[in-house]
């Protein structure tokens, strides 16, 4: 089947199936059930895991098909939000680093939306410096016992499984004592509490682990090898954020260029020029993302350059929310309160805008990564690299 044909069929399928499946915001239980039903249809139609290996349940196709589908899907808002962490981070990590048994067990249900995944790295005392995390995993009969706290965990309230990064050795330097596991989010001792963010909604959670048992076969990679596993996950995260793998496009984004060109007064030359600026920034970043994906297809691994794309997206997100609310004037900050009110949507976009510059690594961390791993600049002086973890200063309580 040629690409045009593939794209045409994707369009036909989306037109028949996508609009009915619309879900707004953070889904409730009914929303999650509907999203799962949609995901199963999407998978059965062959549009979930388009580039993932066929032997683990993917479609085994190329970036070209994925782009073709994404281009069509951009016209719809697909209810794929609760699956975004699994599709963008956990799944790709398992495909890269999991055992065959793990790939067999987890990848297909993830792609089909039968099981929802979350990612458990950050802690109250370990944000940008995630390798400073303190959640302990201690060996026990047939597995491990986990105690600690995680935070900023998107979709944890709906998740069946989590990709968990723990400390298994405090006597070695911080990056060497980490281990990754697959954790059952329904296991005894796991407590999920929604965390209200600055939008007023609970987009993420804090998670408490109290004596949670993890079976030995849920180890991902090597004991003590958790940092390199986490780097793999974070790389996928930045690429997926930057590339917008979440599949829902800019169509309904009230602060994107396409929306503003309809609402703003382009008779005013200042407004017109501000829209040109937004267009130029949006287009330049979109082209950069397309170039990265073409390079990947040509066998040039983008590596840390994905962090540049993520940084640019964070800045664009802040810029366009700022611009849109300034163009709108008073209605952006005081509105009727009705859901779907133009002002309400602008206010929400403005309140949500900082998320992109903080989640998945702050802009400052992205700049460090671009500087050190793309430009090969000399590293920050580090006082923590060769010191046993138990001897380091920590935030939020003692190290061990």
């Amino acid at each position: 089947m040629d690409l045009e044909d593939y794209r045409r069929r994707a369009r036909v399928w989306l037109e028949a199936n996508a609009p009915q499946a619309r879900v707004e915001g953070t889904p409730d239980a009914g929303g999650v059930a509907a999203a799962k039903a949609f995901m199963a249809e999407l998978y059965d139609a062959g549009y979930s895991g388009i580039t993932w290996p066929a032997e683990w349940g993917g479609q085994g196709l190329t970036q070209a098909e994925e782009r073709a589908f994404a281009a069509e899907a951009a016209r719809f808002t697909l209810p794929t939000y609760v699956f975004s962490i699994g599709l963008g981070m956990c799944g790709p990590t398992l495909v890269d680093l999991g055992t065959d048994e793990q790939r067999r067990r987890y990848v297909r249900p993830l792609l089909r939306g039968e099981e929802i995944w979350c990612q458990l790295f950050s802690e109250p005392g370990a944000g940008s410096d995630v390798a400073a995390l303190q959640t302990r995993a201690v060996p026990t009969d047939g597995g491990w016992v986990v105690d600690g706290q995680k935070v900023w965990t998107s979709v944890a309230q709906n998740a069946d499984w989590g990709l968990l990064l723990t400390r298994t050795d405090v006597d070695v330097p911080k990056h060497k004592g980490l281990t990754m596991f697959i954790v059952d989010m329904h296991a005894p001792g796991v407590t999920v509490r929604p965390l209200r963010d600055m939008t007023g909604r609970a987009h993420f959670n804090e998670i408490f682990f109290d004596g949670v048992h993890i079976p030995a076969e849920n180890l991902v990679g090597q004991v003590g090898g958790g940092w390199s596993c986490a780097v793999t996950t974070l790389l996928h995260e930045r690429l997926s954020i930057a590339g917008g793998v979440g599949m829902s496009g800019q169509k309904d984004n009230p602060v994107a260029f396409e929306a503003l060109r309809e609402s703003a007064d382009t008779g005013d030359p200042l407004v017109r020029d501000q829209l040109v600026e937004l267009y130029v920034r949006s287009r330049a970043l979109a082209l950069f993302n397309q170039r990265l994906s073409q390079e990947t297809k040509a066998g040039i691994f983008p590596g840390a350059r994905g962090s540049a794309a993520k940084l640019l997206l964070a800045e664009l997100t802040l810029f366009q929310a700022d611009l849109a609310s300034s163009l709108a004037g008073p209605e952006a900050v005081a509105h009727s309160g009705a859901e779907g009110d133009g002002g309400a949507r602008l206010a929400h976009s403005l309140a949500l805008a900082p998320a992109m510059a903080l989640g998945g690594g702050t802009n400052e961390i992205m700049r460090n990564i671009v500087g050190e791993r793309v430009l090969n600049l000399p590293p920050e002086p580090r006082t923590d690299k060769n010191v046993p973890f138990k001897d380091l200063k920590t935030s939020g309580g003692p190290a061990s």
Partner: protein, 358 residues
Amino acid sequence: MKLVLTPEQRELREAVRGFLSGASPLPAVRAAMDSETGYDPAVYRRLNGELGLSGLIVPEEYGGAGAGFAELAVALEETGAALLPGPFLATTAAAIALTQLQTPDKELLGGIAEGRVTAAFAPASGVTAGTADGDGRAALSGTVPHLLNGLDADVLLVEAAAPDGPVLVAVEAGGAGVAREALTTLDPTRRQARVTFDGSPGRILSGADEAGLARARDLLAVAVAAEQLGVLRASLDAIVAYSKIRVAFNRLIGSYQGVKHKLADMHCKLEQAESVVRYAAWTADEAPGELPAAAALAQVYLGRACFEVARDSLLLHGGIGFTWEHDAHLFYKRAKADEVLLGPPRAHRTRLADLLEL
């Protein structure tokens, strides 16, 4: 859409880069800019003889290589990065205009492809062409206030206003009624002239139409953007290299976030700039309908990004960057000269707004 270079295009890049690093390193650029002509004719001859660059986009039937804009962009990026003085960009601009004619001018294209003729192109000049005798001759009147390489070009191609619409007129630069006055340029690596025509006889090139001339202007915008990409890249490379050897407070300056984060932002501009240029070159070769907006986008994005990166590169060098002997100011000046070469930046922004139907 092709945004990644092919192996052949990468080879071309290596060939041009290798040639320029040997034949025209920055000390040679400085020697050339202080010379009477402002450039080294021997380097320009070799550029055309060994690499065939002046004929790169000239069709093969007229003695050129028949390459596309993707290839031209690769070459211009390298000549930009090297701050190559001389008539390469101006002659390329003329070749662009000539290739848009419905009936190509064999003599001029052949001369350019061979490297025998240097030329300059004045798009939408405001010069008027009187065509009283109706035999393809025109008498030009008016002034081109800033013409790149106007002083050393053999032939001037002027988009002039005639009674029946715009025409492209070829004028012998040394011909009667042509007064060329050297301007003092901010960018010492490339010269400009003020050219006044006073009833100057010229030859109306047949087959010029409004659409072809408009396309020539868009293609020129893409070509300049490719040069700007090279200037941007070289400015960034210079400061990245310096920040790995310069020590302050017992640390390499590149280890300070105050420097590192700025360099990261400059790298982000480079990534987007390259993507925009590859896209614009692709539209020139493959998607004529998208070319006008892509060309305007390329000028809006590259003009700013190139100047900002050249400026920040200079600043991050510290005081040495402000000296005449350091090269940072040459990039800074070329970046500004390029940003306004095709008109003030607002003109590109307005054109983009028009094309987007804002």
